[in-house]
Symmetry: D2
Subunit: 331 residues, 4 copies
């Protein structure tokens, strides 16, 4: 089986999660380099040669290198992609690539011209449960879709410091839900109305952000989509999907931490949902990287690609405008 | 135990359901008369003296009569209430009393002046599951409420003929959800945005009605409420409630027709939800009438009363305006 | 619709439960008399003429009387049945009729000779969930049955005083499970092995009774049946049934007191099972009496009849022998 | 972190499952050799040097080798263990080690004398759900245990050829359940009664084996344990555990293949249980090997060890005697 040679560009909390999953699950992948200023100072993480960002081009110039996995600070993503393109390396890039639609359009052109492949880390498309729903929908199990409901709630709010540079709730957090809506319905967002509130952390008001939202979208297919989101549940990572159509209703429920049950006293207890994206979407992360290896080896059309990333950003920006103006916005 | 003497004013499909539940469950209630043109033609239904509407005043003038149960055509509700007030009879009236806010205000005044009690049939307030959630919320089990989600989906769409005179989806169908939002949050609707679509029955377009909706409301307390509704599921009466707050999430799930399960072939099967309001809210109908008897016997404040009916109608009318203008509307 | 005239013979805790259900649900039944020494001393219960046992024959001699509902002390059941036969009244009798197989055989003969109908209160046969499983089994949904599992656990142990005269755990409590095994499999018990223990209430040792048991039965059809039972759960009335066959597995789960759910802190909470037989088998009690009225009106074969009662007792007695000898016993 | 050097002795279907999990999950383990006649003929599996059994001693004599993982044909386990002891290598051995109690006792002695560690692959002890129940039990969540119920059902029966040399249903299949009973209750089996039947595959009669069983055990602690088992469900690997005690009931339910749900037509569908031990106990296999590495690095008492293996075999043999004599057997 062909061995792939990959470099990790950026290897913080998320990057290390991806790296561990790659090393555990893909014996045909050699991670030949990590580019990360912090890890470069340490003894080599996972015995992998590690370099500061100043040596990025030395890494990219390695001829055996097939592709890069970008999981750096979002702000660095565009430059890292451009550098990878320059050295003709294929790219897996974590979301968000950029919040600037124009630069995403330029990148899209550059990629096409240079025949460089890019897959973006909109992971829901690779979750086994979301995929089952997609298959059922495509198989006509519920006929035409009427309503899509997405619940996306984080276990614990991020720091204000992170929130500040995150792009805000829609661009950083609901971006996944906007992609899920397009993925499940196979159609585009026509109009969006976003209601938001600060109910978890008053501090967010100061930076003009929110922590609670109900977002309604009309798709070109006529389907109505609603997203309810919160930055903090306290009980875990609440991730649910519901697709209602003319012949029935499909749901993805939360995954419990165990399948144990206790009946006693005056109640029945079961386990709470998984705590975070790391447990909940582990298989999705593995499957999306398996797909990336498949895309490297074939000419299959990549999904989700940079245009999917761009469309999700366009929807998020429309949501921000809707929230600011308290009006529905045409996308 | 005091015997109550009640007359049924209007006794069609809904009226007969109520009458049967009263006869089964309330041995201290004598139903002394039914006023219904159709039933008056038949041999006496349930052996109860039955009169055409022309003899309404003869019935109301019976001194032993304590109260009337109004379940006639919605269009007749206001006149029947006025007649009952004239004869000093207390009133239980099915929803909707009227879609005209002004006449509801006048009725409210008349009732106060004449010391006549009126309870309206917004039945969710008496459902044991909804009440459990309300108790948990009031007990602070989830702290401050952030999001309320209501799913209200009918098993089978009504005829166009019915839809025409029903007042439309918001006034006829979602009226319950508007009341539920006020009941659960204990606060009022400040703003509403309604997205609607005709996805079930194209005929509804001709009468300017819809069959699918997502309604977002901001409450004065800051809580966000979202309602998703459909006129037809095919699988049963889909009735769910979710209340998310700072300390957790409360849910009312559907009630299955049985608690049986089948594991076999490539799936696990359980029973579908109850088919209709008759099975799903049976206990709610019983409990709301028990409350009515309690209100007759005490000076306790009636809930839901005519002002609750009026507020639900005001919200529904605002929803219609929002849908027509595709704008959020202040209530 | 034909009016039936019924007398309640014995009207204690269980009798009153039945009487209330009859009055609520069967408008075509007139309960014309109660025979009960305690109630006879009170003002008439439910406005029904009530007599001491000394006036039993006066009641039975009423010509309008169609049938009697026997819910007296078990020890009185046989004599009451004989009295009813003498006066040619049909009989519904609560379990247990008698623990004496011979007298049950004699009663069976007398009933046949006198053409008096008798239905016994083995209520599981009328529970909607158990019936659904029976229908699925008969429809071949799981093919041939291999294993039947019955869980029967009481919420709170009875007093030693009651336990003493109850006939013991097998005759008083598991008697239902023995009937369920015959009902579901449609075959007879060939061999039984009973393991028992006193783990709840040491007092039971003194009266040579138990509170915890695992009973294994081989049916003539080859099916294996296992019953696990306890006199006290603390969390409610744990009633489950499982039927495993060549094509799948059927289950009846517990019925929760509500369908509410709470996710919060470190767990998910749902409602406990119904507390007692009164809530759990309410519909079964209603349905079995509806069946009795049907049997009164038709020549349909009665089930469960006195031979079903006798067979359940024979199994219980075999279980006692097995427990005493610590050996499997052929029934 | 210390690197461990391991050799796989036997690497068929089960061995390869273990090897893959080790390579995926334990970066501190070097599998330096595979001893397997079939794989030795192939190009090196997983790039690991592979030898025929004739070269076993060459492999064992490698000084860097810390331990061996034995997953050969059961019949070879004892000799492989002895060889490992001779070369002072620690041992992880899949179940069954042997069906001969005496040889297990001798091995136990040899291991103690030679200070060689051996852990046996009774994997339920490492399943996260079973462990959660064990922790809850030990924490007193349900007080004293009264009843333990174990459901163990295979998705598809093995071939008669396999069944023949498997040791029979009790020694090959229920062996896990016997260990689970000891693990959960922390006490020993005092008496066992096994009921068995051939309901799946008549062929099994010819080789004097069964495919369906109900096994009742009395533990020294007084707890009653019941196991229901089948060789074929058709719907997946049905693995459930229930522990009932004075303060409540603990359960491990099946793990569904997905968390998706479909409501439609006249039913609600969810996913079936995992298909086989490979999916169901994946984490248990990983955790038990992590424990083995821990035991290699510490002086902690190994569990489950060879005496646990021996006790499970003793129970299985008692079960066989009970089935043959149709009598309870003292263990």
């Amino acid at each position: 089986m062909k061995q792939h040679h990959i470099a990790m560009l950026g290897c913080g909390r998320i990057g290390q999660m991806h790296l561990n999953l790659i090393l555990e699950n893909f014996s045909n992948v050699n991670v030949v380099a990590i580019v990360d200023n912090y890890l470069a100072k340490e003894p080599h993480y996972k015995n992998i040669p590690t370099y500061p960002v100043t040596q990025l081009e030395d890494v990219l110039s390695q001829s055996r290198l097939d592709a890069v996995f970008i999981a750096a600070n979002s702000t660095a993503h565009v430059d890292l992609i451009k550098a990878a393109i320059k050295y003709k390396k294929h790219i897996f890039c974590e979301k968000p690539i950029s919040f600037d639609v124009t630069s995403l359009e330029h990148l899209d052109k550059e990629l096409k011209q240079s025949n460089i492949k890019l897959q973006v880390g909109l992971n829901r498309r690779w979750d086994p449960d979301f995929c089952q729903i997609k298959r059922d929908v495509d198989a006509g199990k519920i006929g035409n879709i009427h309503i899509v409901k997405i619940t996306n709630r984080d276990p614990k709010r991020a720091s204000i410091k992170f929130a500040k540079r995150s792009g805000g709730m829609f661009l950083d957090f609901n971006i996944h839900d906007f992609d899920t809506a397009r993925f499940i319905t196979g159609s585009e967002v026509e109009q969006i109305y976003a209601a938001g509130a600060v109910l978890v952390d008053p501090e967010l008001k100061r930076i003009n952000d929110i922590d609670t939202s109900i977002i309604t979208m009309k798709m070109t297919s006529g389907v109505l989509v609603v997203i309810d989101a919160s930055r903090e549940t306290g009980y875990g990572y609440d991730q649910r999907l519901e697709v209602f159509g003319e012949k029935g209703n499909l749901q993805v429920d939360n995954i419990g931490r165990t399948v144990t049950q206790f009946m006693g006293g005056n109640k029945t207890e079961t386990a709470p949902p998984h705590y975070s994206f790391i447990e909940r979407y582990k298989q999705a992360y593995i499957n999306q990287f398996a797909a990336f290896l498949h895309y490297l080896a074939t000419d299959d059309v990549i999904t989700p690609d940079i245009s999917d990333a761009r469309k999700a950003v366009e929807i998020a920006i429309a949501a921000e405008k809707s929230l600011a103006d308290n009006q529905p916005v045409i996308v």
